[in-house]
């Protein structure tokens, strides 16, 4: 068998390239009806009454009264309804569905429905949430969750410090902008409901249906369809529309298709959390960073959703890849009457690494040191403990990564040149970062308990049964490679279909950069066991995740190994700024990653390139503002994602550092490539203009403001 990293043809390639792949909106079932959602026009209001016009035969309304089970989305906290009961908390919150055979008629009915709101005073920003004394959105406090953790002896360290350096940073909303909008089809047949659709987590959708219907789980089936991108945006939101489609199908007794409009999708589905991060580093008389205090605030929107989990990752990543021995971190996710913030590739990491990387740069400047050299002094090493005092048991190659990327990009030479050169606004910046792979702490075992199944048929065929979804990242190919390589059989013998909850065990969601490292490893273990039994005719092997004995986690104190393992990386971006228009021209992009072993070099390259471009978009062009509870850039005309013209080629390299608990040494990659891009870009811009960048996206308008203020310094 060759090296596993050697690329193979993707198994989903043919049907995608020639247009045969059937995404949700491509499917038309017999007698299928359409659904459209009536959404709140108010940021915060009581619903006094809803006037529904006369409905022609064949048309239905689906509202909270059609929910036989619990009208609560099962996600961490029990606060978000599937369909608004008697109050709404954000513009775009779903109130009811209109279902029927003819789209213009549905639109007609929607126009005639009159919702009588009694407006309440909305909370529209973190600042407003902080001021709030009463009439809270959630429970009896302004935030959904409030966390803190610490390391070492911060009081002592502060006492022995000479001075401190403090910065405050802000990051904005970001929209996932998957090319395929959220979509579902609900079917009710033979006393069972089946929901098909575009999703990352079939079992999340199934759990949501079980909760909404109160039915036994064998009456509910969820099947993933080819999915046109997810990026976290299809982690929990599909649970809501999946239930909508299911309820509609049950009521109508016919299949119902629910496809979100692009503007609807941007306005109403979950977004990246805006964040305000304050970092204060204490410096002693040896110019050493002895302690850090970090304060984090995120705008979680109207419902808790995944905000507690995002906040955790943000706060564990907040001191970056640096061994800060005395650390105090506190974090709050505020409730506001705005669109719900949720999962987006990086999941708190992009916000955290932007802040810490800019901050370390500022420290270096104040201490008159080269920032990359300063960072090196604090790089984590094997044997150190993390921000949450978890032991780093495996080799960490940050030094090698930093050396390699500096060489590739000629970082030193350019840095020196650009720092002194005044005629052109050129700059170069380097970010160093990590991403914890897998669910936080011991949640892989405590919360998810992922199971995988590998089946051997009597003929030459092995089939993978997992709930992991192909969302473009190559799961239908990479998991096959792992199994084939472990079994030493031709990859054509391995079957893997889009997950169907009737056949696939719950392997957990396709998130957190866990699919290869956790699920791939479980499949690998199944395959090894299967190899020994290969001569048996037909049999199944199921494996369930066991939390590694060499890891520990205290979920009350947030102490221990925050993640099963980490991937590491560095990005360099070189930029030139037009002095007349303040627009950016990116001259070069370099990336070095340690992801253990690439399971497929070509797929890995695709993930690297796509993640970096998405991260650069976050860093400089994806402006998404909320005003009076409404997102201002709600179409692809106004919400600008990078085009083919915007950024140049990317030069990337991988460091060889296999992880003994990963399949063939692999760790996660899905999110790592997005995390470091915006900080590297912001650092390059800061280097070019000689002014501190404290927020992203770094727009020309902001650059102009920074350069203008400079004149008055």
């Amino acid at each position: 068998m060759g090296n596993i990293s050697n690329p193979v043809k993707r198994f989903d390639f043919d049907e995608k390239v020639d247009g045969r792949a059937q995404y949700c909106a491509d499917i038309k079932l017999e007698q299928m009806l359409y659904a459209k959602t009536l959404r709140s026009e108010k940021a915060r209001a009581k619903i006094a009454s809803i006037e529904i016009p006369h409905l022609p035969p064949g048309y239905f309304i689906v509202d909270q009264n059609d929910i036989p089970g619990k009208n609560i989305v099962p996600i961490v906290y029990e606060d978000q309804p599937f369909l608004a009961p008697n109050r709404v908390n954000y513009i775009g919150e779903p109130i009811l569905l209109v279902v029927g055979p003819d789209k213009p008629s549905i639109l007609d009915i929607l126009k005639k429905i009159k919702v009588n709101y009694e407006e309440l005073k909305p909370v529209l920003s973190i600042a407003e949430a902080q001021e709030l004394q009463e009439e809270y959105i959630f429970a009896n406090k302004p935030c959904f969750v409030e966390y803190a953790y610490s390391k070492g002896n911060i009081a002592e360290a502060i006492k022995n410090s000479k001075f401190f350096i403090e910065d405050e940073f802000r990051t904005g909303y970001q929209e996932q902008a998957y090319l395929e909008t959220q979509s579902m089809i609900g079917v009710y047949e033979d006393n069972r409901v089946t929901v098909y659709g575009s999703m990352q987590c079939p079992y999340y959708v199934k759990e949501a249906l079980i909760q909404a219907l109160g039915w036994p789980e064998d009456r509910i089936r969820v099947i993933q369809l080819p999915t046109g991108g997810g990026f976290g945006g299809k982690e929990d939101y599909p649970s809501i529309i999946g239930v909508h489609a299911g309820l509609a199908a049950i009521k109508a007794q016919k299949p119902v298709q629910l496809v979100l409009d692009r503007q609807e999708d941007i306005s109403c589905s979950t977004k990246r959390h805006p964040a305000i991060i304050k970092i204060r580093s204490y410096i002693d008389d040896q110019d050493q960073i002895t302690a850090q205090e970090i304060d984090i605030k995120t705008d979680a929107g109207a419902y808790a959703g995944l905000s507690s989990v995002v906040l955790q990752r943000l706060m564990y990543s907040a001191s970056g890849v640096y061994n800060i021995k005395n650390l105090k971190v506190q974090a709050r996710a505020y409730a506001t009457n705005q669109v719900v913030s949720g999962a987006f590739r990086g999941f708190g990491g992009p916000q955290a690494f932007f802040a810490i990387e800019m901050h370390m740069e500022n420290i270096a400047q104040q201490l008159n040191q080269d920032s990359l050299e300063l960072k090196r002094e604090y790089f984590f090493q094997q044997g150190d403990t993390s921000s949450t005092s978890g032991l780093f048991q495996y080799p960490i190659k940050l030094d090698e990564i930093a050396t390699e990327i500096a060489k590739m990009s000629s970082y030193r030479r350019k840095r020196q040149l650009y720092s002194s050169q005044k005629e052109r606004l050129r700059g170069i910046g380097c970010s160093v970062f990590s991403h914890g792979c897998g669910f936080t702490g011991d949640n892989e075992e405590k919360l998810i308990k992922p199971k995988v199944r590998l089946k051997k048929y009597s003929y030459n065929c092995v089939q993978i049964f997992v709930s992991s979804t192909e969302i473009g990242q190559g799961a239908l190919t990479t998991l096959r490679k792992i199994v084939a390589q472990a079994l030493e059989i031709p990859i054509e013998w391995v079957k893997h279909e889009y997950p169907d909850t009737d056949f696939c065990p719950n392997s957990g969601p396709t998130v957190a950069s866990r699919t290869i490292m956790i699920i791939g490893k479980l499949l690998y273990d199944c395959a090894l066991e299967m190899k020994d039994r290969w001569n048996e005719e037909e049999f199944d092997i199921t494996h369930e995740y066991v939390y590694p004995k060499n890891l520990k986690w205290d979920n009350e104190k947030f102490q221990g190994n925050a993640y099963p393992e980490y991937s590491w990386g560095a990005n360099v971006v070189e930029v030139e700024i037009d002095p007349i228009t303040y627009t950016l021209n990116i001259l070069g992009i370099w990336a070095v990653y340690d992801i253990g072993t690439p399971i497929d070099e070509k797929i890995v390259k695709g993930q690297i390139e796509g993640g970096i471009v998405q991260g650069l978009g976050f860093g400089c062009m994806e402006v998404l503002n909320s005003k009076n509870g409404q997102l201002l850039q709600s179409s692809l005309t106004d919400y600008l994602i990078p085009t083919a013209v915007d950024f140049p080629e990317i030069e990337s390299k991988l460091i060889h550092n296999p992880y003994e608990n990963g399949p063939f040494g692999a760790r996660g990659l899905g999110e790592l490539s997005l995390v470091g891009a915006a900080p590297a870009l912001a650092l390059a811009i800061q280097n070019a203009i000689g002014q501190k960048v404290t927020q992203i996206p770094v727009t020309p308008e902001y650059i102009m403001e920074l350069m203008q203020n400079a004149k008055y310094d």
């Binding site: 789209k103 213009p104 007349i580 201002l632 005309t637 020309p700």
Partner: protein
């Protein structure tokens, strides 16, 4: 009842325009977005539509006596592909939208839309474009600067059709165009700057400058252009402040979801200064 007319020729089109209230539909790249309903549902119009994009009479490009005449239904791509059309005219068009939009969108549509950020407009204003307006009863010409009266507003009457754009041609020594957007392609202009100059070693014969997206309509300053007329390039610096003031008084940008007033104001004047001091080279 909303009707859809697909006339056989211009005369028939003008007849229909004369008889009823219609929206003129050429490439449809704006109209189809503005009136879109749900995926699968037909776009909703409350006024009848008159399709003219297929009329070959409106798709001609001719050069006649140093005058370029472009049919209003010429697509942007057609203009870009025509070798007779000078480069300075193509510069703004090449950066509009995307290749697929340029294959359908028309110059007449961009003018008819009369958006403050319309990308063909600064160039047309700077070139003193004349528009031929036709109705059943008459045909007349109007300068583009008079035709567009405000954001999305123009003089076109319900019985009229914009049929042709006439541009006096000249050998400009220098031409310069800058579109400022929030990404490098396929975006609405935050500012656009178009300039032409003519002269010889001794003096500037004329300079024409037009700004787009920074006021309700395109800005040209005859006061400023006069200050530049007939002077030596070395004299530009001494007149620069007056020239800048002249434009500063005319610029009237706004804060919106794309950009800010102060950015647009400042960058416009910097584009101007850069053009006058650095780009005017020959």
């Amino acid at each position: 009842m909303v009707k859809v007319y697909r006339p056989l020729n211009l005369i028939e089109a003008l007849d229909i325009r004369n008889n009823e209230n219609t929206i003129v539909f050429a490439g449809g790249t704006d109209l189809m977005v503005k009136h879109r309903e749900w995926s699968g549902a037909v776009p909703k119009f409350s006024t009848s539509l008159l399709f003219i994009g297929h009329l070959t009479e409106l798709q001609t490009i001719n050069i006649d006596n140093n005058s370029l005449k472009i049919g209003a239904a010429c697509t942007l791509a057609q203009i870009l592909n025509d070798k007779r059309i000078p480069d300075y005219l193509k510069l703004p068009i090449a950066q509009m939208a995307s290749p697929s939009i340029r294959n359908m969108g028309t110059i007449g549509g961009n003018i008819g839309n009369s958006s403050p950020a319309g990308d063909t407009l600064p160039m047309l204003y700077a070139l003193d474009a004349q528009l031929t307006i036709q109705s059943k009863s008459k045909t007349y010409a109007v300068g583009i600067e008079d035709f567009i009266t405000g954001p999305g507003q123009n003089l076109l009457k319900p019985d009229e059709i914009l049929s042709e754009i006439t541009i006096p041609l000249s050998n400009y020594r220098q031409y310069y165009y800058r579109k400022v957007g929030s990404r490098k392609a396929n975006c609405i202009s935050k500012i656009s700057f178009f300039a032409l100059a003519n002269g010889d070693a001794a003096q500037i014969h004329e300079v024409r400058i037009a700004f787009g997206a920074v006021a309700p309509t395109v800005i040209r300053s005859f006061e400023a252009e006069t200050l530049l007329k007939g002077i030596n390039k070395s004299q530009i610096s001494e007149r620069l402040n007056d020239i800048k003031s002249s434009y500063a008084n005319l610029l009237n940008p706004v804060d919106d979801r794309r950009s800010t007033k102060i950015y647009r104001q400042k960058v416009s004047l910097q584009l101007l200064e850069n053009f006058l001091l650095k780009e005017l080279v020959w």
